[in-house]
Symmetry: C2
DNA sequence: CTGGATGCAAACTCTTTGCATGCAT
DNA sequence: ATGCATGCAAAGAGTTTGCATCCAG
C-alpha cells in the first residue's frame, strides 16, 4: 500500500478544520471515508469508496458514503462526474482535468489537456448562470473494445 | 404548431434512406418518433419525446422510444447527453454546442460557444481512444434559483 | 413467409429518503 | 444534554431486458 501515515494525519486535520469551520461534526466515518477517497486518488463510485473503507471501518453504509461524498463536494474536495451512463463518479479535485469514457465497457480515464473554457463560462454568464463547474467528457471506444 | 409538412417528408425520407442503408426497417414508430424529435429541436428526455409522439401515434411505449433514440444516436442523428443527475437527454445533433445545467432545479440550457477541443481529442487519441463525441457540461445556479 | 421491431410488464441499477439509535460537541 | 450523523430498510427514478405478437421486406 502506498498510503503514508503522514498523509492520513494531514488529510484528517484538513478535513477536521473544514468541517469545524462549517460547524459540522468530525466523525470517524467522515475521516475514514476521506482517507479512502484521497488514497484512491481517482474518480470513484460510491460503491468503490465503500469497498475501500469497509475493511477499516465495518458497518459503513452506502447512504452514508453518498452523503459524505456529497459533503466533500460542498467542501470543494470532490467533484461529481456523470460518466456516460447513469453512474455518478466522485473525483478528487486535484488539478483541472477531463475524462474519456468508453462507450462499450464504460471505463473512465483521465485526460490531461488544457482547454480554454472561458467562452463557455461567459456564455453561461450571459444566460444568467453562475457557473461553478465545468465537466468535459469525451466518449468513444477504448483500445480494448476496438 | 410551427411544423411544416415539407419538413416531415424531408425528415421521413432522410431517415428512411439511413435505415435502408443499414438494412433496418422503416416503421411508423421510427418515422413519427423521428418527426417529433426533430420538431422538438432541443435536448429532450425519452419521456418528453414519448409525450410528443403519443397524440399522433398512441400505444408507443417508452422502451421503443429509448431503442429508437439510441438508434438515432447510432445513425448520427442524435447525441446522448447525461445532464447532471442520472437523467439521459437526447439532443438533435445540429451544430456543436454545449450545455449548462442548474444544480438546483436541473434545468438544462444550450450554450453557444466555440471551444477548441482538439487538445482533449488528441489526449484521448494518445490514450488509445477513438473519440467520437465530446460533451461539455457546465453547472451552477440558474438565475431563478439564485 | 420470416426475422427484426414493438408493446407490455417486470427486473435492474443506482441513488435518495425516513426513522430510530448513537455519538460528537 | 442536544441534535446532527449514522445504519438499516425501503422507496423512488430512470433505464434496460424478456418474451409473445406484429408487420415491413
Amino acid at each position: 500500500m502506498t498510503a503514508k501515515a503522514t498523509d492520513n494525519t494531514t488529510w484528517d486535520s484538513e478535513l477536521s478544520r473544514a468541517l469545524r469551520d462549517r460547524g459540522q461534526r468530525v466523525t470517524s466515518q467522515r475521516l475514514l471515508i476521506h482517507r479512502a477517497f484521497r488514497e484512491l486518488d481517482h474518480h470513484a463510485s460510491a460503491e468503490e469508496v465503500l469497498a475501500a473503507v469497509s475493511p477499516r471501518l465495518p458497518n459503513v453504509s452506502l447512504p452514508t458514503v453518498y452523503a459524505t461524498l456529497d459533503l466533500f463536494r460542498e467542501l470543494g474536495i470532490a467533484r461529481r462526474v456523470s460518466a456516460g451512463r447513469g453512474a455518478i463518479l466522485y473525483d478528487p479535485r486535484s488539478e483541472a482535468h477531463h475524462h474519456v469514457v468508453c462507450r462499450r465497457c464504460g471505463k473512465v480515464e483521465d485526460l490531461e489537456a488544457r482547454i480554454d473554457l472561458s467562452p463557455a463560462m461567459s456564455a453561461a454568464g450571459r444566460r444568467g448562470y453562475a457557473a461553478e463547474n465545468a465537466e468535459l467528457v469525451l466518449s468513444g471506444l477504448c483500445s480494448d473494445c476496438r
